[in-house]
């Protein structure tokens, strides 16, 4: 029987069942433990970055090539027919007739779902504006499972920009299927949006709003840091909150042994570099896991069995 993701589009975290998320995480773990170079043999993947991105694009293209597949594509839209005014739907119709799957990033929200309606081959969303970035969430889930041994019943704190950070929204959506509990730590102006809080309430997930990083550190298995962008505030407001959501090494004294610090990167100054040497720091390993999570996705979408 074909795996449930075979020939499916990968667009948005709420589209996935708990079992599908577990399948991807299991597959990523298997590919990390025993790398394969044949799962995309003879396959051609279009890597269409209508909006530039370094890490996501390189990580997808590494995943494809390591699995034996080949890549065509572009890393920004400026030299493509988009510049001449071609619609995304026309571009996708054509590209999908060339390749076996399309990995795409686009600055408009909903671009990947729209593309999936015009594509003959699976579309994998590498980020659509402020909406979704499912492969980031899958690598986060894989990293959490790798460090904690389970996704079930964990305590996590999300710190920083909870309003605009699509990463934290998608991760909260995914982990709400696993009975986790959450702490939200961030400036009031960047609080978790209502629709996420409503979804958590509907699913009976408990969450706590906390004022400081220090108070949640002893309570959690995962500390998920994000960047508070200066440009979201006027200068006076920024001065007030500056430094409040920065993780310093001395704060980690009361942490549980298993506690790991994650961050979607790029990091600016919200995690002091002294934290990097701590056994709790796991964000660079997390970024490395991006390749395995994306290998898992591509393998499942393009092979009946993996």
């Amino acid at each position: 029987m074909a795996n449930p993701l075979f020939r499916k589009h990968i667009l948005s975290i709420p589209d996935f069942s708990r079992e599908e998320l577990e399948l991807i995480v299991d597959t990523a773990a298997r590919l990390k433990a025993s790398p394969r170079d044949d799962l995309l043999q003879g396959r051609l993947i279009a890597s269409c970055f209508f909006e530039p991105s370094t890490r996501t694009r390189l990580s997808f293209e590494t995943a494809i090539q390591r699995l034996g597949g080949r890549v065509i594509g572009f890393d920004n839209a400026s030299n493509t027919s988009t510049k001449k005014g071609e619609t995304l739907s026309d571009s996708i119709r054509i590209i999908s007739s060339y390749a076996d799957a399309i990995v795409m990033r686009h600055h408009k929200e909903g671009a990947a779902r729209l593309a999936s309606e015009f594509s003959e081959v699976p579309v994998i969303n590498g980020g659509d504006g402020a909406n979704q970035h499912p492969s980031q969430t899958l690598l986060d889930l894989f990293t959490i499972r790798e460090t904690q041994g389970t996704l079930e019943g964990l305590s996590l704190a999300f710190v920083g920009d909870l309003k605009y950070g699509r990463t934290v929204h998608s991760l909260a959506q995914a982990l709400s299927l696993f009975g986790c509990r959450f702490y939200f730590v961030g400036p009031e102006a960047l609080a978790m949006p209502d629709y996420i809080c409503e979804m958590l309430a509907e699913r009976g997930v408990s969450y706590t709003l906390a004022e400081t990083i220090e108070e949640v550190i002893p309570e959690v298995d995962v500390l998920y840091m994000t960047r508070v962008q200066k440009e979201r505030f006027d200068e006076a407001d920024y001065q007030k909150i500056q430094g409040r959501f920065v993780l310093r090494e001395d704060m980690l004294k009361g942490a549980r042994d298993n506690m790991k610090i994650l961050h979607p990167l790029p990091r600016v100054d919200e995690i002091e570099t002294a934290v990097d040497a701590s056994p709790h720091a796991y964000y660079f390993e997390q970024a490395k896991n991006g390749v395995f999570a994306r290998q898992a996705l591509l393998s499942l979408v393009l092979n009946e069995t993996v």
Binding site: L88, H106, H107, E109, G110, R113
Partner: protein, 152 residues
Amino acid sequence: MTITRTVEGLKNGTVIDHIPAGQGLRILRLFKLAELGERVNVGFNLSSRHMGAKDLIKVENVELTEAQANELALFAPKATVNVIRDSEVVKKHKLAMPATIEGIFACPNSNCISHVEPVDSFFYVSEQTNDIKLKCKYCEKGFSKDIVTAVE
């Protein structure tokens, strides 16, 4: 009295009655009822015993389906939609909130891809305790009904 005249005034078609006053023109425009090439009679600010004032639309030779009638529920949940054949009311649609609504309202999110591509807008409708929420299929943003219906 009014009902008799309404039915008499229309041999075949659809009568949308009990529209809250002020919504008639929006319904006419959003549902493109005037673009069907059929005769349309409209009444604005008609007196109504229950509503005070109401709007009314009669479209000749067009029978609104149940799904089309339900799309009206977002603006005018208490509107009545009667289908007329040979001057007889043959169907009274009871308006129910539709599960989805397509091609009527533009997505309020200006960065939504649906604005710049050849697709109809598409919302999933969900009824909540004090509100009706519409969630765009494309950008996945959820909006209160009043925000979506106010977009011109």
